[in-house]
Subunit: 348 residues, 2 copies
C-alpha cells in the first residue's frame, strides 16, 4: 500500500470484466484435466470420466445485501441458490457446496443458526451436500463465500462460447423482478428511517420481493433439456442483467444477436411496479440483476421443443458478429445493447 | 438481527470448533460420492475412480493479516500456500485453486497486481492452475477466499481419524517460528508508530519472518511418503499450533498421545528470539499458529524409514484414550495438552 499515488490506475478505469481479464490474461493452464478455467460460469475439471464443475461466489454485507431488510435465513438460502445457478448454467447437476464465513462481533449464535437454516433448506431442496468451509471472525460486517461443485457427463457440458448463427435465443422465467423487489425494499427502508412508527407496506409486492429475497435456480430447465435430449449450444445464468449476459455470450461465441423487446418476459407485477416507480419495465429486465434465470441458445430446428414450453421464452436469434448486438424495440428501432458492469443499475 | 439480546448465546461461549460442530452436526450426507464432508482438512468427493479433494479458507484484513507489514505479494502467496497445505494433509496432490476477493476502495490496480503476483508464484511453484473465482467490492478491508482442489487415489487418502495405539507421532520441519515472526513484526510496527523516523531492525530475524510472511506447504513430505510407500495412519496440517492439532487428531482417532518436549523441533533462531521476548520456545511451538507443517502418525514398524530423515521429527507416540493427551517435559513431568482455540496466542 505504499505505491506513489500519482502512478496508480483506479479500478473504475478497467471495470469489473476488464480487471478480471487483466489479472488473469497470463494464466497458462498446466493440466489437461483443467478443461475450463477462468472465463465461464464455473471451472470444469476432468477427473477420470465425469467432469467436476466448481464455482465460487462471495457475498459481502453492505454490498450484496442489507441486513435491515434481508432475513438471515433468506440470505443463506440465496447464497446457495446463486452458486447452484452457476452450476446449472454449465448443464451440470450440483452435488456439494462449501461455505466460508467472516463474522463480525455483532452476530450471535442465533443469527448464524438462522443463516444456516437457509443454507440447509437450499441444500435439502436442491439435493446437495454441505461438505466443508471455514468460519472466521471479521472486524466489520458479514462475508459469505460459497463454493459449489457439480457433475456432468463430458459430452453434456455447455459453455458460453458455442452459440452459432441462426440459433434461437431462449430465456427461462421472467426478468427484472428481483431488481424491482430491491427498489421497494430500499424505498421502505428510507420511509422507515424517516417515520419509524410506519409499518412497511409490502403486501402488493409479494412476487418481486420473493424474487429478490429468495431466488430459485432453474433446475427444472436443466431437467427439461435433459428429458428432451436438447443440448443448448451455449448457456449462461442471468445474474447481472440480460443485456450484460447476452453480451458475454455473444462475445465468447464470436457472434452478434438480435432480441425483440416484446418477447422479453416480464411478469405483470414487475411491469406494474416499474410503472409505479417511473421506470421502463424493459430497462429493468435488461439491466436489473439477480434474476438467476438461464439464458441459452439452441439450433433453429429445435424450435418446436421450446415454443409452447411454459417457463421458456424465445426472445431472438443469433446473427453474424458484424451485425452487432441489438435490441429491436416495439417501434422497430434497433438499439445497441449496453452492459452496466460493476456500477450496474442494481447497486447504484 | 432483531433477536432479543437477553436470549442470545455469545459465540465466545462455544469457541470456534464448538460453533462449527454446532452448526454442522445435523448434516446428513446424501451422496455416496461425498466420501468426507465437514470435519477434516478438506472435503473428499468420489467422481469415478479418483477422489477429488476440496478445501476452502478465508483471510480477512485486520484479522489474519496486517497490510502495514505484509507485502501484498507475500499475502497472495500465503493465501494459496495455506490452502495447499490442507490438500497435502490429505496425502493428495493439489491441481487447481479458485480465488475470491472482496476489495475496498483503498486498493488500486497495482495493489491487486502485486497480490496476484504472489498468487501466481505459488501456483507456478506448486504446479496448480488458478481456475476461477469472484471479485467484489467491499465496504471495508480486503478479504481473500481460496478454494483448492486436489486429487488422490482412493487407497491413498489419509484422514485425521486413523491413528492407532503405539503409532509414532511425526512432525515435519520446525515449529513456533511463524508465531515469533509475527511478534517481531508487531513490535516493529509499534516502534514505528512511536518513532516514525526509526528504520525497522529486521536483519536478525530473517528465518522467522520468512516463516510468517511466506510459508511453504510441505509437498516434499508427501512426495517422500509416496516414494517410501509409507502411508500415514492419520495426518493434519499445523495451522493453529501443535497442541490444538494433536488434540484434533487424537480426538478424531479416539486415542491419547504422549509427546516429549525435547523432541519438538524448534529452530535455533526461534529459540533465540523466544528468549529475547521472554517466551518459552516450547510454548510457541505448541500454541503458535501458521507453521503449515504436517503432523502425522505411522505404524511403529516403519520407524527406520523416518528416524534419519531430515525434516521429519518423531516427537512421541499414540497411547490409549484413557491415558489422555500429554506433553512430557524435560524434567519428566506430564502436562495435559491444551488447545488455544479461536482467541489463540497467535492473534491476541
Amino acid at each position: 500500500m505504499d505505491k506513489d499515488k500519482r502512478s496508480l490506475t483506479p479500478l473504475s478505469e478497467l471495470g469489473e470484466f476488464g480487471l478480471i481479464r487483466h489479472l488473469t490474461e497470463n494464466i497458462r493452464l498446466k493440466h489437461p484435466g483443467t478443461v475450463k478455467g477462468v472465463g465461464d460460469d464455473a471451472a470444469v475439471f476432468d477427473y477420470s470420466g465425469k467432469l467436476v464443475v466448481v464455482t465460487t461466489d462471495m457475498l459481502a454485507e453492505g454490498i450484496h445485501f442489507d441486513l435491515v431488510y434481508t432475513p438471515l435465513k433468506h440470505l443463506g438460502y440465496k447464497a446457495i441458490a446463486a452458486n447452484l445457478s452457476d452450476v446449472y448454467a454449465m448443464n451440470a447437476t450440483p452435488r456439494q457446496v462449501l461455505v466460508s464465513l467472516a463474522i463480525s462481533g455483532k452476530f450471535a449464535l442465533e443469527h448464524l443458526e438462522e443463516l444456516y437454516q437457509g443454507i440447509y433448506l437450499a441444500c435439502e431442496k436442491y439435493n446437495v451436500d454441505l461438505a466443508g468451509g471455514d468460519t472466521n471472525p471479521s472486524l466489520t460486517g458479514l462475508i459469505i463465500s460459497v463454493t459449489a461443485l457439480g457433475e456432468v457427463q463430458k459430452e453434456d457440458v455447455v459453455y458460453r462460447n458455442g452459440a452459432k448463427e441462426n440459433d434461437l435465443i431462449c430465456v427461462s422465467g421472467d426478468l427484472g423482478a428481483a431488481y424491482l423487489g430491491l427498489q421497494i425494499l430500499e424505498r421502505e427502508k428510507k420511509l422507515f428511517h424517516a417515520h419509524p412508527d410506519l409499518q412497511p407496506k409490502l403486501e402488493a409486492y409479494e412476487y418481486i420481493l420473493q424474487r429478490q429475497l429468495k431466488p430459485e435456480p432453474r433446475r427444472d430447465i436443466i431437467e427439461f433439456l435433459q428429458r428432451e435430449n436438447l443440448k443448448p449450444t451455449s448457456m449462461i445464468d442471468i445474474s447481472d442483467g440480460l443485456s450484460s449476459e447476452l453480451m458475454h455470450l455473444c462475445t465468447s461465441s464470436g457472434v452478434g444477436c438480435r432480441v425483440y423487446q416484446e418477447k422479453i418476459p416480464v411478469a405483470e407485477e414487475t411491469a406494474r411496479v416499474a410503472e409505479e416507480l417511473h421506470l421502463e419495465p424493459v430497462t429493468c429486465a435488461l439491466n436489473g440483476g439477480e434474476d438467476y434465470e438461464l439464458l441459452f441458445t439452441i439450433p433453429l430446428e429445435h424450435y418446436d421443443k421450446v415454443r409452447f414450453r411454459e417457463g421458456i421464452s424465445v426472445i431472438g436469434h443469433i446473427v453474424p458478429a458484424e451485425e452487432g448486438m441489438h435490441l429491436v424495440t416495439e417501434a422497430g428501432e434497433n438499439i445497441p445493447l449496453r452492459a452496466q458492469g460493476w456500477d450496474g443499475i442494481s447497486r447504484e
